[in-house]
């Protein structure tokens, strides 16, 4: 038995480390803890996958978004109604701090452009593309793969609508480029994004990141 648990005490960093090691094993947890991952776009994909990575104990997360939390976000993104109007970077940083207080989080409240992405992504081994506009997705993915051959890119395309869960999948396009989603289901007027399908895709991305970090790059 675990004995008496004080529900009001904040766990120490050591408590958190030991709890994760008990689940993942020290070798795997060591890889997660040593990693630096960027999440570009903090909407339905980014907020969900960042929380997943934080809970897994990925040591350093870079959260990048220019937008603020809106009412239309709450149905599928991790934000709370009390956070409406806050920059998503700050709101998600607070959520991650509550869930995984030992994870280092750096925020960049900015739009990713061709001119600033080198600096924004310099410290990250893996870049998660979690934007919603196709042109933004393509710009980021192409730029990172062209300029940083050692970085991994985990992108997403196609997760809108009510299509079957099992059509969401992960594909490995090149040695350093993974693509999650069904590849076709785009956002259309009246064809929205359901929380479950977006979370499925975000989970595919997060799991791909963890597999890369674990030294298991195959899909």
């Amino acid at each position: 038995m675990w004995g008496v648990v004080n529900l009001h005490a904040s766990p120490s960093r050591e408590d958190l480390r030991l709890a994760r090691e008990a689940r993942h094993g020290p070798a795997l947890q060591g890889r997660f803890s040593a990693a630096s991952v960027a999440v570009c776009g903090l909407g339905g994909l980014g907020s969900n996958l960042a929380l997943c990575l934080a809970r897994a104990g990925v040591g350093w997360l870079h959260l990048i978004d220019f937008d603020r939390v809106e009412l239309s976000n709450l149905h599928r993104q991790q934000y709370f109604a009390t956070q409406l109007g806050q920059p998503k970077t700050e709101a998600l940083r607070d959520i991650l701090a509550a869930a995984a207080p030992d994870v280092t989080v750096t925020i960049h409240t900015a739009r990713v452009t061709d001119g600033n992405l080198d600096a924004l992504l310099a410290d990250s081994q893996i870049v998660c593309e979690a934007f919603d506009v196709p042109e933004d997705k393509a710009l980021l993915v192409n730029a990172v793969l062209e300029r940083f051959p050692d970085k991994y890119v985990v992108a997403a395309s196609g997760m809108a609508g009510l299509g079957p869960a099992n059509e969401i999948r992960t594909r490995r396009i090149t040695s350093h480029f993974y693509l999650c989603g069904d590849g076709t289901s785009q956002l259309t007027p009246g064809g929205g994004l359901l929380p479950s399908r977006v979370m499925l895709c975000a989970a595919h991305q997060a799991h791909t990141v963890l597999r890369i970090l674990a030294g298991e790059p195959d899909i």
């Binding site: 994909l45 997705k137 393509a138 396009i173 693509l179 994004l193």
Partner: protein
């Protein structure tokens, strides 16, 4: 023959840019993988397809 997204086509000699325009792709919303590598966007116009090439056009759609 060149294989693009799993389908063989007689495209040897065309550039990537020519193929994309002719097939109606929106070059601002995709990435091109050729024989395991990403073709840099700035080189679509000078990258000539050769017999035996295997390409994948990765299309990004909206939503996230």
């Amino acid at each position: 023959m060149v294989k693009i997204n799993g389908t063989a086509a007689d495209l040897a000699g065309q550039t990537v840019a020519q193929y994309l325009a002719q097939a109606g792709w929106d070059a601002a919303r995709l990435a091109v993988e050729r024989n395991g590598d990403i073709v840099p966007r700035a080189r679509y116009g000078e990258t000539v397809l050769e017999d035996g090439d295997v390409l994948e056009i990765v299309r990004f759609v909206g939503g996230g």
